[in-house]
């Protein structure tokens, strides 16, 4: 298999414009006769489905929640980036491009990232037009704040609920298209397999989560906008429903999976408590604009934070990264937290935590200002921990948060299966080995509103698409794969719950394929996971029937996929003998613990192809840097 990223030739600045002009269009009359499946209604899926509907395609849209408005995107807090330069602080498309490439540690494609920066400004305009109530200045203009890892103020926000407001904007656009009959919405419906006919993606197999009915949905093209897979770690900041099933089962049908080990661990989540804990709650990164991270200089210091004088505190980010201080990018900040905790300076239960302290800003600007900026986050923290962060510093610890890896796509956002497009967090495209804060919302909406609707048109206008139906043998085969799996899950009738397996595999990954990784640990994981998986199929218990509403059955199916996917993650981490971005291999670090990237051997996208009962095959897409020179990413 040869991976062709299909990057248009010519200068970076004009690639996208010229590409759009050279793309074929579908005539308005034909659009009516074309059906497109969109799986997912987060920022990526809702914006794509509504725009495709508006263009005249017949859209069949799916999500597993009871309403499209509840997709995981709703939980994003901090904001969305755009190169508007409203603050006149030196921002530009070129700078957003450069920050994103550098932030990603030179492991993303220049052409994609440049395009993302180009369309970013349009996203804000579109959202304003839809009625998104962005924060405003007293003069009535849009307000901005700065966000982790950059030195300009380019982040737009709606209090601490930016994802909610952007998603409700896209959802309202979707509502309009549903009302117009252009989009048919199928909530509480889960995609469980992909149908590939004559090498093209032509449909999906879905299960109606209320009745349990499994059915076939065919179309001319399929778009996956199914989000990320952080929940493979069991505890993460993601919604509990977020999962890998759609992309993983698609992988098994031939779409290659890129950089699965590029996994973002967010520095500022509330530390884990007891083993019953179901999720980790993120404290928005925006808190690092004003909060200072520190630990006691003395190891295992049990004094209350207020009793520790300034000179006995280690403001470790400010010390190690004086130029960026508390705003150092996520991967760097997370590792620094882990390092001080591993050295015994951690605070709170189990020593898993560091202080995030607002005393200075409260003294400088007053509690009201802090309340206005972060009131809801402080409330949330108080509710969960019972502590008042206006008085005692917050405690935070890193948590799995976002997946840069995903299904491989070319410049047109098409996977290696023709007719299968992948957008949003589900693809691997834009963030390299590390994503900057406020850039995922940007990417989801860029893909859905402004990129996919063009590129899919070219495919639909040029591909030869024969009529296919439910009785096609590939459709039947896919249906059978799904029903077979469901009955295996129900009939195992063992003694362990799916959650117990999930917790175990998640802990394994966190220990051996988490914030830092080494060869021995990864090899151990690769030896242990198959045994756990084998036990799962023998010993899992799933009560109830398949022909009814059965949440445990849904969940067990997702856990089964994690148990396979975990292995792919480890294979990828093992192959990448370098430290870059979020991927830190202990073997590859400088004497003072900074990561060592290897551009000679690893300036590539690692794209894995599925093989039944065998180690997946690695394909490499070389990354050429024509416009920026990869440098050592220093934030010191």
């Amino acid at each position: 298999m040869k991976l062709d990223p299909k990057i248009p030739a010519g200068p970076l600045e004009t690639k996208w414009d010229r590409h759009r002009f050279s793309e074929k269009l579908v005539s308005p009359n034909n659009k009516r006769r074309i059906t497109v499946i969109v799986v997912g209604t987060g920022l990526a899926g809702a914006s794509a489905a509504s725009t495709l509907g508006q263009l005249g395609y017949q859209v069949e849209c799916f999500c597993f929640q009871d309403s499209p408005r509840r997709a995981h995107s709703i939980a994003a807090q901090g904001g969305i980036n755009a190169a508007k330069n409203y603050q006149d602080d030196g921002d530009s498309v070129a700078r957003l491009f450069y920050d994103t490439i550098k932030g990603g540690d030179f492991r993303s494609r220049e052409a994609n990232v440049y395009r993302l920066a180009q369309v970013s400004a349009q996203i804000i305009d579109q959202c304003v037009a839809l009625g998104v109530p962005f924060a405003r200045e007293y003069g009535g203009q849009l307000a901005n704040r700065s966000f982790g890892g950059v030195q300009v103020s380019r982040t737009f926000y709606c209090r601490g609920q930016t994802g909610q407001q952007l998603l409700l904007g896209a959802y309202s656009a979707l509502c309009w298209q549903i009302e117009r009959g252009q989009v048919t919405m199928h909530p509480r419906t889960e995609m469980l397999d992909l149908i590939v006919i004559d090498g093209q993606a032509r449909g999906i197999v879905v299960r109606d989560l209320v009745t349990g009915r499994v059915s076939i949905q065919t179309a001319h093209a399929v778009v996956l906008a199914t989000g990320g897979y952080s929940n493979v770690y069991y505890l993460s900041t993601n919604a509990s429903g977020s999962n890998v099933t759609a992309t993983y089962r698609t992988w098994k049908q031939g779409a290659v999976f890129a950089n699965p080990c590029f996994m973002q661990i967010h520095p500022t989540a509330i530390p884990p408590g007891d083993e019953h804990q179901a999720k980790l709650t993120l404290m928005s990164e925006s808190l690092r604009n004003d909060g200072r991270l520190w630990v006691p200089k003395m190891a295992v210091d049990h004094r209350p934070p207020g009793d520790i004088p300034a000179e006995e505190r280690d403001y470790f980010l400010e010390r190690r990264y004086p130029r960026f201080g508390n705003l150092a990018p996520r991967d760097i900040a997370s590792r620094a937290v882990k390092t001080v905790c591993d050295e015994g300076h951690g605070v709170g239960p189990g020593g898993q935590g560091v202080y995030l302290d607002f005393a200075d800003v409260i003294e400088r600007q007053g509690q009201d200002v802090v309340h206005e900026r972060y009131g809801n986050l402080f409330d949330m923290y108080n509710r969960i921990t019972g502590e008042d962060a206006y008085r005692v510093p917050m405690r935070i610890y890193p948590a799995p948060h976002y997946t840069m890896g995903g299904l491989w796509v070319d410049y047109n956002l098409m996977s290696t299966i023709p007719g299968l497009f992948v957008i949003g967090e589900a693809n691997f495209a834009d963030h390299g080995a590390n994503r900057l804060g406020a850039s995922s919302l940007m990417q989801g909406l860029a893909d859905g509103y402004f990129i996919l609707p063009y590129t899919i048109g070219h495919y639909l206008a040029t591909a030869k698409l024969l009529p296919v139906g439910e009785d096609h043998k590939e459709s039947r085969a896919a249906l059978q794969r799904v029903t077979g799996r469901i009955s295996r899950l129900l009939n195992a009738k063992g003694r362990r719950t799916a959650a117990s397996f999930h917790r175990e595999v998640g802990k394994f990954l966190w220990d051996h394929c988490g914030m830092s990784r080494n060869k021995a640990g990864l090899e151990l994981a690769l030896r242990s996971i198959p045994a756990l998986r084998e036990e799962f199929w023998r010993n899992v218990v799933v009560p109830g029937s398949g022909e009814a509403f059965n949440q445990e059955l849904e969940y067990a199916g997702r856990v089964a996929d994690y148990l396979e996917f975990a292995e792919l993650l480890c294979h990828d981490a093992l192959h990448r003998e370098e430290s870059c971005g979020a991927h830190f291999r202990e073997e590859h670090q400088t004497t003072d613990g900074e990561p060592m990237r290897d551009d000679t051997c690893f300036a590539h996208v690692a794209a894995w192809e599925y093989r039944e009962h065998a180690v997946p095959i690695l394909h490499k897409e070389p990354l050429a840097f024509e416009f920026v020179q990869p440098t050592t990413r220093s934030y010191q």
Binding site: R69, H72, A75, V128, A129, R136, G140, C175, A278, E552
Partner: protein, 262 residues
């Protein structure tokens, strides 16, 4: 801590439901209410019994999935939070807790504590949007919006669509939900062109879906996890009157006073 739970169990929409008693043992005070239920469910699953079905996703009070009536109150005893934000330290050790689904004509029960809330989506589809195509929007700073106005719009827009307001209302009215959306869009210049059609269409849809009318009892505001203010219902009523004036052909006031009072 230990608790006795009386949980509504109902296998399917047509079957009759009933309360079943469960014991929850060794509950940590730092556990969330939903984690406590997870624990009960893990015990049931391990015995190959069907776990209690309930809705949840984000577990941080923003997606609007969770929806339990706890001791008779939608989202439980505390104001301004959703079920998933409730922690067990809030309950005395040994307490008896009843747990029921949202009950409203427009929200049929699917199973146990899970109800069908698609009616709220259909109300949104009737008019809860600005009809604007993708592409070609003007620069976001072309229309300036007063900070206070934007903040008030944001207050209204914070609704998470959970439906607790409906569950709390004797008439099962969705007035607060509709008021939040109508006010959010009426307060912003982008939403103004369609305000006349929107308010009528959404209220018609609300009636069609079987939600009742507003009895001015304000139970909705008391349980709303986002503290959406009933003042927005006043805004909604004025928007409705204004729509009537516009439709009768008389001039509506040049600039509405609603914004300030909302």
């Amino acid at each position: 801590m230990n608790f006795t739970l009386k949980i509504w169990r109902q296998k399917s929409p047509d079957e009759k439901g009933r309360f079943v008693t469960y014991e929850a043992h060794d509950v940590g005070s730092g556990m969330s209410f939903l984690e406590m239920l997870d624990g009960v469910n893990q015990g049931l699953i391990a015995k190959d019994e069907e776990p209690v079905a309930f809705e949840q996703d984000c577990r941080e009070g923003i997606c609007g999935s969770c929806s339990l009536v706890i001791n008779g109150i939608p989202h439980g005893p505390d104001r301004g939070m959703s079920t998933c934000q409730l922690y067990m330290r809030r309950f005395p050790d040994g307490a008896v807790i009843t747990i029921e689904p949202w009950r409203a004509r427009a929200f049929p029960i699917i199973k146990d504590l899970v109800v069908d809330r698609r009616a709220l989506d259909r109300v949104m589809q009737a008019g809860g949007y600005v009809s604007v195509n993708t592409g070609g929007a003007v620069d976001g700073n072309v229309l300036l919006i007063e900070k206070d106005q934007a903040e008030t719009a944001m207050d209204a827009a914070s609704c998470i669509g959970c439906g607790a307001c409906v569950a709390a209302c004797k008439n099962a009215s969705a007035m607060l939900f509709v008021a939040a959306k109508v006010s959010h869009l009426a307060l912003l210049p982008q939403g103004k062109p369609e305000r006349t059609r929107r308010v009528k269409a959404m209220l018609d849809a609300m009636d069609r879906e079987g939600f009742g009318s507003c009895g001015n009892q304000y139970e909705c505001e008391a349980v709303c996890p986002k503290r959406i203010s009933v003042r927005f219902i006043a805004t909604l009523n004025r928007e409705y009157l204004r729509a009537g004036v516009v439709e009768s052909g008389l001039p509506a006031e040049p600039e509405s006073p609603h914004a300030e009072s909302a």
